[in-house]
Each structure stands twice: as C-alpha cells, then as structure tokens.
Amino acid sequence: MSDKRAQTPSSEPELVAGNGLLHRRALLGQGIVYAGAVGTGLAASLTGAAAEPLREGPWSMHVGTIIPPYQTPSRYEAHVVRTQDNPDNEPRNSRARTPHHLLKGIITPNGLHFTICHGGVPDIDPAQHRLVIHGMVKQPLEFTVEALERYPMVSRIGFVECGGNSAPLFSNEPIQANVQALHGLASCSEWTGVLLSTLLDEAGVDPKAKWMIAEGADSPRLSRSVPVAKGLDDAMIALYQNGERIQPGQGYPMRLWLPGYEGNMNVKYVRRIKLTAEPAMSYYESRTYSQILPNGKAYRFYFLQEVKSFITTPSPGLVLKEPGYYEISGIAYSGTGRIKKVLVSADGGQSWGEAALQDPVLPKAFTRFRMPWRWSGGPAILQSRAWDESGTVQPTRAQFVALRGQTTKPPSVLDFPSQHFNSITSWAVDAKGGVKHVYA
C-alpha cells in the first residue's frame, strides 16, 4: 500500500459536517482503516464479546439440493418482498411496492420491481399479441413479438417511477411508515427493446402529428397521450427487463418505456399507438394525473419525474444497535439526466457533506450514494439532497409545500393526495437507534 494514511491506524477520520458525518474519502479504499480507527465501530463487535472457536455448519456436512431451473432467493430472505395493497384483487387498483430498505445497488430485482395495475395483471399470449401504429402516418403497421425480435435492439438502464410515488409526504404531518411505503413506487432496471423512433420512421409520421396515444391490452385498455417529441427521442418498445422477458407485472410481452417520464405513461401491454394532432384527454391524464394546486388550479401534463433522493439505510424499521461507524446509503435519480451531486446531513440540514456517488452514474437511472457516518449515540436527523446535471436541486419540504400544498389532515399512507412529490425526506434517529419519519 502506498497511501501513508492507510498505514496509520491512529489517524482520525476527517469530519465534513455536523453530528459525525465523515469525508467520503473514508469509503474509497481507506474505509476499513477509518472504521477501525473509530474504535467504537463495528470492529468492536456488536456484542462486545470476543469471537468463539469456529465450527462446521450442518450445510457443510452433506450434499445440497438440486440446482433449480430458475433460482429464487434463499429462504432466509423470505421477508424481502413487495407489499401488496390489494391482496384479494378487489375491484380497484392494486399496487406492490419495492422494499428499498432491504436492497443495495441500483438494479431492482425483477420480482421486486414495483407494479401498479388498474385491472389486475393480464395473462397475455405473446404469439397473439399485436402492436399497431396508426393514425397520422403514411402507412398503418402491425408488429408481432416475433417481428420485433428481429429489429436492432438497444439496452439502457433507467428508472420507472409512479407519478404518485412519495405521495404520503403531502400529508401535513409526517406519516410513520418505512421507505417502502413512502417511496416504494420507483424501481430501476436494464430495459432492452426496439427504439420507438425506428418503428415510427417505418410507419412514416405526418409532421403535423404532435401526440401519440398509447394504449395497453389490459382490461381497462389503459390509454395515455404522449408527445411525439418523446416518441422520437428516447422512447423504447421494451421487451426485456434485466436480460429476461419483461415480467407480467411490467407489461409482458412489451411495454412503452419513456425514460424519466411519469410511470403511468409507460403503457404496459402496449398494443396500439395512434398518432394525432391533439391529446385524447384520457381519464388518467385529464383526471388522475392532473395535480391540484393550493390556488385551486391544477397542473396538466407534468410528465417529468424531477430530481429526487432518499436514504434507504438507515431508515424506519432498521435499528442502529450501538454507536459507531455506519454507512449511510441511498438512491438518487432525475428524469432530466444524470445525478451531479448528493449532499447528506446528520443534523437536520444545518450542515452538509458531499456523498460518494457509486459508479455507474447514468442518465435517468438510479444512482447509489454513500456517506460514512460515526453515530455518537445521540439524536440525529438524516437527510439527503440531490442535484442533477441540469442544475436542478431537490427542494426542501418547506419550499415544495409552499408551491404544491399539503393536506389539512393526515391521509392514509395508501392515499395519493397529489403527485410528483420530490422534496427532501428526513429520518430522525433517537438515542436507542430507532428511526422515525419526521419533517425537518
């Protein structure tokens, strides 16, 4: 090792902000040394007792099981699942949220990707599925899955976020729920498919067409109007998710993927795209995804999922067992482009330190950030705040609520008072290591 600091265990970690935030350098190669140097960190062991003599585990003493055709997680990970808000499939919308507090990295496992369905999950035979492009085009065209398989494909890592993700933070009082309940309607995958521009070019779009109305093959035939500009930019007919065919909850056999745009517009089971001069003013754009403002007006065509970040560990439901070294970790993303910077605070925003961004930092994708922290054992309020490459900064909750409003009484955590909430989230750590959701 050539770094002198790494050979000097007595060197103190460099504090960058109040309440124990350490310089992110502590994570980059020298982290182990700093962790040890803290003295009260994990190196001291959680129990305070010395290690015991090693033993063989029973799993090492006999042959294991058959390798299954499709591997699923260890039975010890059975708690790492989505939460279902309509487990009996009652006649209403149903949602399943991603357990961010139990995941690391930037890719959401396919089975844990959030799902919202407005009429259950359809069981579509890919051999019979068709995608039709028509309306203001030179030649209306029909595509089969088999045909699309022969097109040049592109792969791109990016997030999908429901426009209503984080909606519980519109509550006038902080709702006590975990990060899965508050922010679990966002996930990130590698999507592979055919650029929509390729198919639009083939059909020959009339220059007077400004909109395309996308429709799914699910029971409500979910329909959204999307600007043609987005269709010709980076929209994709996605067939694969993290290397395998898109899951039924994500739109099997194909979905419209609009990087960075409101989840509901990323029409699943897409079967029809109609080019038009005007938007259709479908139920979802004219009613559900129009956001009421404090002055009684409402936003329409919000589309963009703006810059956001939140801390996933520590977070409510996770407990810090003893004072010492911890890594604060979370995700940041923006529908505009790359994440430029994430700052973290441990004192409710009085002071901030810059977090390390884990490579790769990709446009319109989750970016994992990390921040080394030495918890003193006293109260702390953890926050993260992200900037994207356009220079847009995640607002404080006070700034956000001044523009967008809040409820007058706390709603159910499952309610959606409005959408496109992207302000700072605050977690309060108490002296026992418990974590609560607060406004700060």
Binding site: R150, S219, Y299, F301, P417
Partner: protein, 176 residues
C-alpha cells in the same frame, strides 16, 4: 490495413454504435393494416368528439343501467363505495381529495371514452354504445351539468362545457 479499409471499418463501427437509431437499419417487418381492420381496437374518443360512434342515450335510460352494473362499486346514486364516488363531491377538489366529474373533469368525452373501454370493472368493454351514451348522460345529469331530459349523442356530448375546463396549467409546455 489500407486507409480505405480503415475508413470503411470506422464507418461500420459508427453504424453499430447507432444501431436501432434510424429506419435505414430497420428490417421493416411491419405488416400494413387497413383502418377497417384496426377499427375494433380504435376506441379513442377525442375532446372534439372524433371517434364517437352512432347512438344516443338519456339520463333516464342510464339510471337503471347504473343501478344494475355500476352501483355495486360506485355506491347508490354514485355516492361512492369500493370505487370512487362519481357525484356529490365538494365544490372544489383539494389535496384532501374529492376530484369529481363536476368539480374537476375537463371534458365530457372522457366519460364516454373511459366507461366504454374500462367499465364495468369485471366486464370491461361489454356495454353497447347506446348504454355508454345513457350512462354518460346519467352521470352528467347527476352532477347537474346537463338537464334531466338532455340527450347525449355524437353531436351533443362534445358540446357539453365542463365547469372546471379552464382551470388547468400545462406544467412543462416546452416538452410538448
């Protein structure tokens, strides 16, 4: 390698890098389809009435259909149940809730479009066009937007002026 071969290689590498980005690379496997063959799926109704089918319906014709096919979820007289209320909301919606046809929906054509494509929940797209016109008329009359005897059809429905129509702000006009 000759300069010419290098140039060709560079050109082909560039083509690979932009694979899928232009129709020139496309195998063009889309099958031409006629508007008549698309018609069974082409159910979009535009705010100006484009797409509305022939047919007609009145609030009185819609009331028994609502009772039979909608009230189990939307409640008696549309007051709400497991599914959202379709009438009787507050005068103005807020973050506390209460978006209704009367206080929020900007276009009456959206009712026809959504009811026809998505309702009833357990038998979507099963209503006849006359039934959809009748239900649309019933909902507009329940919300006191049209009179009890008004007839809804392809000509009258797009002319219904919804009270909240002019209360919307386009969030990012530059993205349209």
């Amino acid at each position: 390698m000759s300069m010419r071969r290098m140039a060709l290689l560079a050109a082909s590498l560039m083509a690979v890098a932009s694979a899928g980005a232009s129709a020139a690379d496309s195998p063009r496997l889309g099958k031409p389809i006629s508007p008549a063959d698309i018609a069974p799926w082409d159910i979009t109704i535009m705010p100006d009435g484009t797409g509305l089918p022939p047919g007609t319906g009145t609030p009185a014709q819609g009331a028994p259909i609502f009772q039979a096919k909608c009230s189990a979820c939307h409640g008696e007289n549309g007051k709400g149940g497991v599914a959202a209320a379709v009438t009787a909301g507050p005068p103005r919606a807020s973050l506390d809730g209460g978006k209704t046809i009367a206080n929020f929906w900007p276009y009456a054509t959206t009712i026809f479009d959504f009811v026809r494509r998505a309702m009833p929940y357990n038998a979507p797209h099963s209503l006849k066009d006359d039934e959809v016109y009748a239900l649309t008329a019933y909902l507009l009359s329940l919300n006191k937007i049209i009179g009890d005897n008004d007839v809804m059809n392809a000509q009258t429905l797009p002319k219904v002026k919804m009270p909240n129509r002019d209360n919307f702000i386009i969030r990012f006009p530059e993205r349209i």
